[in-house]
Symmetry: C2
Subunit: 436 residues, 2 copies
């Protein structure tokens, strides 16, 4: 049987998982790849950090990536260092040296997809990236291959396990955001600096990738309107639940009249929808195709072994030769592909959840309803709750929750601006979209 | 761009869907396949049945499959006639003539997988079969490619939309099996003769295929212990629900101590498990892999366009050249593959739901518990319900529902046999397994 030599660049969480599968299950992988995949090199930043030789016997661990790039025996470079600049250099150098590339780096692809795939085309090499969106969930292959007969109509996904874990804790245990985040950090589900997770950036990176695959949209992360979960109030999770909804951080993409609507935001999902049943650090993707209808994919979006599962699947795909055929045909991030225009977010149309904190006085609800109505926004349901504690003479402000019917985003924004300007409104309003 | 000519054999439900996608979305398919896929021929049984020329312009509709097999321009034959004997002949002839084959025929693969793939190997041609299990759900590709790094540990699946529709109606509407079946027939979800669906045979065909992919098990349908839904009593769905479970017709495969447990049977699934949330004519597959952990795939398992989605995905996979690489490496149904032994069903270990109809007399429960206990079967919970109507002097019999802890199948069977022999037991007992 032939042998394919691989250089792992990065031997952290994911890299170590990949090395483990390749060394511990070499025969199984060889049977499925049609050749023995030999983990010849592993590159780390700091050779002295810990002694990794015992765990990865037979793997040459070095701190100079050129050893791998310059080794003519290496056929595939696996980039698992994360970050953008160094990773970009390594991937481009590897392609220029005639290596295939496997990467789990969503930030790199979201920001430099066009450059990376132009280099891949120039070198006629594959870049495989199953782990970059959805982790262990084989969603990249599902869209590229399994659902290839379809025009995807819409896609809605939970792509960040950290956020989903935090939201699950908030929903099920009734604990506030900060406490839930601290718990996630204690369990290793969240980084010490969780900013890119909780502010929606990581989800937007992954959505940029899925939007390329499903719609050939060539978007940068900055093009995607995004909100994180870091300012979510427990009260809204509770009211949503009363209304029959669960709040999830969703990546949303939808074709609407020839334009593509993209968004990352905490959104209301009906309790009986599969996305609402996704708990803890899991990921899930709902894809609606014109032929297949509704499909749903669920699994672990991160973690050592689930992510390594996707990286090794890519290695097998490259080793068999399939990945190169896919890369050639699908022409990822190619400028030549027919571009789909983005729908300006002001034009998006959806149902909304609104929460106002209002003075407990007659006529306030009517005033709000009137402002909404004047912009053609009709109300589907209302919850008015007990007033909070009185402040001096005046009764405390009361929360007012309104679900709207379909509303155009710019109309809604204007209405909210006007409502927030009313002197009976006690705090800036909260607005969340509803995922259909 | 190159052109690939295809011969569709069968232009019924699925065939017409495939022809529709290929003709209406030719450009899209060409972009993803890297060549234009031309539906040159369609073969039907009866040319006079209806006039199909208007709908499928440009497709030569004939009733002689030799026209296709003998056409040197045809590169791919798509077998969509169903049944076994004629389909087998067509597939073998097509391979012998150097064509690749795409098929949705689970019965054929379950019964003649070894012969079909031996012929494919001899001819060095691909046989692609994404539609044969799970319909539109791309589960075949997920196991073969996306999860290829894993040893699958277990698999549990809803693979027959007709049965799932019927069970959903029984559960949600509280209607009995016969009425639910009639409803499914009226809606076109069930055939006039639904035997192969409701008795579990269709599910067993699909399980035989998935067991080959996930475990390289070379099993015939007859090797798989199976029960259908045709004798399910509404009462058991109701008691299961009280205990927090939903009853689903499951295909079950699990590695246990180096042996493979296979089974098709109505089974209890915990209400909060994703499989319990699969409603109506949908299919779903849960796959647990050693690296990836729990994954779940959900979508339409049948119907014209969802099934055509999978068939056209296969056509694209063949046209790009990927399918042949997969076929070569994975060596489906090859005698050379290391065989996994089947666990005799008497040795299987699981929790069980038992329902007895007993005389309403003191001591009966104790007698039953004693028989179970004597075989090491311990009881997890009991529901005893109100007696049915009195019969003459004697109070009516009462249903007794018992959930057991893990029990070895042969111990359980013996215990049930003994319990059914008690003179206080009024009807043969009901037994259903619990899916963990
Ligand atoms: N962790 C997950 O669950 C997960 C899931 C999906 C995708 N990903 C993606 O996978 C990639 C890797 O993530 P990770 O969690 O495995 O990261 P990590 O644990 O931080 O590991 C990074 C590894 O790269 C090495 N490294 C960093 N900079 C380097 C450089 N300039 N040259 C050579 N080696 C360098 C580090 O060396 P030292 O060990 O010497 O520090 C370390 O071994 C990222 O793109 C991430 O977004 C991760
Ligand atoms: N229907 C689904 O939802 C579904 C889902 C998954 C898989 N499948 C599988 O897909 C396959 C096709 O199913 P289907 O529902 O499309 O069947 P169907 O509606 O009964 O259509 C069968 C077609 O094959 C033609 N045919 C039958 N015997 C033939 C023969 N000996 N030579 C030439 N043509 C012949 C028929 O011709 P006439 O039109 O002249 O009668 C008809 O066009 C089956 O293997 C089935 O198990 C179906």
């Amino acid at each position: 049987m032939q042998q394919v030599s691989v250089g792992l660049v990065g031997l952290g969480t994911v890299g170590a998982g990949v090395a483990r599968i390749l060394t511990q299950h070499a025969d199984r992988i060889a049977r499925r790849a049609g050749s023995r995949i030999d983990c010849k090199w592993a590159v780390v930043r700091d050779l002295n950090k810990k002694d990794r030789r015992a765990e990865f016997e037979g793997v040459r661990i070095v701190d100079d990536v050129r050893r791998v790039i310059d080794d003519p025996e290496v056929a595939i470079v696996v980039e698992l260092i994360g970050g953008i600049d160094a990773a970009r250099r390594i991937v481009l150098d590897a392609l220029a040296a005639g290596k295939h590339v496997v990467t789990a780096n969503k930030a790199l692809l979201a920001e430099h997809g066009p450059e990376v795939f132009a280099a891949a085309r120039a070198a006629d090499r594959a870049v495989a990236f199953e782990a970059s969106a959805g982790g262990g969930v084989p969603i990249v292959g599902a869209i590229n291959v399994g659902l290839a007969a379809n025009q995807v109509q819409s896609l809605a996904a939970i792509l960040n396990g950290t956020c989903n874990y935090i939201l699950t804790q908030m929903t099920q245990e009734g604990i506030a955001y900060d406490a839930a985040l601290a718990g996630a950090q204690a369990l290793g589900y969240a980084e010490a600096d969780p900013t890119l997770d909780v502010d929606g950036t990581d989800t937007a990176h992954k959505l940029a990738i899925l939007a390329q695959l499903a719609f050939r949209a060539n978007v940068k992360t900055a093009d995607i309107p995004r909100e994180g979960i870091d300012r979510l109030d427990l009260a809204d999770l509770k009211y949503a639940r009363e209304l029959g909804y669960t709040i999830k951080l969703l990546a949303h993409a939808k074709l609407a009249g020839g334009a593509l609507e993209l968004r990352v935001a905490p959104s209301l999902v009906r309790n009986d929808a599969p996305l609402a049943q996704v708990h803890g650090p899991y990921n899930a993707v709902r894809v609606v195709g014109d032929a297949v209808g509704d499909t749903f994919f669920h699994g672990r979006g991160a973690g050592m072994m689930p992510t390594a599962s996707a990286v090794v699947a890519d290695l097998i795909d490259v080793a068999t030769g399939r990945a190169l055929l896919t890369s050639r045909v699908l022409d990822f991030w190619s400028a030549a592909s027919p571009a789909v225009p983005l729908l300006p977010s002001s034009r998006s149309l959806r149902r909304n959840y609104l929460r106002f904190l209002i003075a407990d006085r007659p006529g306030v609800i009517a005033a709000i309803a009137q402002i909404l109505g004047a912009r053609g926004i009709s109300i589907a349901s209302v919850i008015q709750h007990e007033p909070a504690e009185a402040v001096g003479d005046e009764p405390g402000p009361v929360p007012l929750v309104i679900m709207t019917h379909l509303a155009v985003e710019e109309d809604l924004r204007e209405a909210i601006r006007e409502i927030d300007g009313l002197d009976v409104v006690r705090a800036p309003s909260v607005r969340l979209g509803v995922e259909e």
